[in-house]
């Protein structure tokens, strides 16, 4: 049972009571600024910006610079960033980080650099070159609103909503709204050597569209073997606004064959988009 309550009687005797996972309805509408990000009253964070301990909870706070997380089971809920130093959250090396209902606005590489088994959900992410960049193998990225990304001061626009550069194995990208331009909404490209393929990725039920007002439209989804290979990429039930290379860009026949393409529809017309 996922929820275990330990109860104690006045005499000190204890017992465990079990509950099933609560049923939370998945959003049926595209995430936006209302359904994601912070809510309620926040106060200024006064703690350390380097979190190396385990089981740390940061909740209802305003943060103003990069948060470096390397600990295990760190949870960040209902927090707002206005950082402009590379990352909003740099969690490379962390395990089981959870970022929920938070807003990250700033400039630099990515709003979030994930660790191992990172969960990001119901977040409003904008302003950086990329929304989320994955460094760990596994992650769950769901119901986020990723939008208004822009390149940094260097001016090299490689804007991606979610970026996987190699080594990912077991990633769920579900129910997000991603508005991107220049490069992609979601990019899987094995840039980090032959030993870092990208495998077992599910992209389901997302809204992937071009950033309004940008003439340089994005490729919707990239699946590039490049230096290694991609394997078992499931792309299903998404609403897509095909970009300059169509709804799916790939570099080899093997990369295309690694993609299972099911029931993806045009975001405007609702017509089924055949596998490119």
């Amino acid at each position: 049972m996922p929820l275990t309550l330990t109860i104690r009687a006045a005499s000190g005797a204890t017992k465990q009571v079990f509950l099933p996972t609560p049923v939370v309805a998945a959003p049926s509408a595209e995430p936006n600024a209302t359904t994601t990000g912070t809510k309620g009253t926040l106060t200024t964070y006064s703690g350390s910006y380097t979190i190396s301990g385990d089981n740390v909870l940061i909740k209802d706070k305003i943060l103003n610079k990069l948060l470096r997380v390397t600990g295990r089971d760190v949870t960040i809920e209902n927090c707002r960033w206005t950082a402009s130093s590379g990352w909003g959250i740099d969690a490379e090396g962390s395990i089981n980080l959870k970022v929920r209902n938070s807003t990250i606005v700033g400039s630099g590489n990515s709003c979030i650099l994930t660790g191992e088994n990172t969960l990001v959900e119901y977040c409003d992410l904008s302003g950086y070159d990329n929304g989320i960049m994955l460094s760990g193998a596994t992650a769950t990225l769901q119901y986020n609103y990723i939008h208004d990304l822009h390149p940094g001061a260097v001016g090299e626009a490689h804007v991606d909503g979610i970026q996987m550069g190699g080594g990912q194995n077991g990633v769920l990208i579900k129910g997000n709204s991603i508005r991107s331009w220049d490069t992609s909404c979601i990019i899987m490209k094995c840039d980090w050597g032959s030993g870092s393929p990208i495998r077992n990725i599910t992209i389901d039920g997302n809204w992937l569209r071009n950033q309004p007002g940008k003439s340089s439209i994005a490729a919707t989804i990239y699946a590039y073997s490049n230096q290694a290979y991609v394997e078992n990429i499931v792309i299903s039930n998404n609403f897509l606004e095909p970009g300059y290379t169509g709804a799916l860009a790939y570099d080899t026949t093997a990369a295309r064959n690694a993609v299972t393409w099911t029931n993806n529809k045009h975001i405007t017309t609702g017509a089924v988009v055949p596998k490119p």
Binding site: T6, P22, R100
Partner: protein, 102 residues
């Protein structure tokens, strides 16, 4: 001492929308049954027949077992969420419920 928990737990709703507060509450208590050893007697029982004749019956001191049953308050002292995407649960001040954001 034996403590029997008569406690059930449940959520306040069958399903939640994103952002709602999930509350799980416990109801019930615990029964604490304890036994101690005491003595009864000695007793002298005076008995009388219908015709009015009386006699005294003596009962020696005897050991007895005394059972005490107490209802005890129960509170939540810990919560563990082993879901693949666990939430942050907070225990209420009275210890009767836990809450998290859906």
């Amino acid at each position: 001492m034996a403590v029997t928990f008569n406690v059930t737990a449940g959520y306040d709703k069958a399903a939640y929308a994103q952002g709602e507060t999930i509350t799980a509450t416990i109801t019930g208590d615990a029964t604490n049954t304890s036994q101690s050893v005491g003595t009864a007697g000695p007793l002298d029982l005076t008995i009388r027949s219908a015709s009015g004749v009386e006699e005294v019956i003596h009962m020696d001191i005897a050991p007895i077992s005394i059972e005490t049953i107490t209802q005890e308050n129960v509170v939540i002292v810990a919560v563990a969420d082993t879901n693949a995407t666990p939430r942050s649960w907070a225990i209420s001040g009275d210890g009767k419920s836990v809450a998290a954001v859906a």
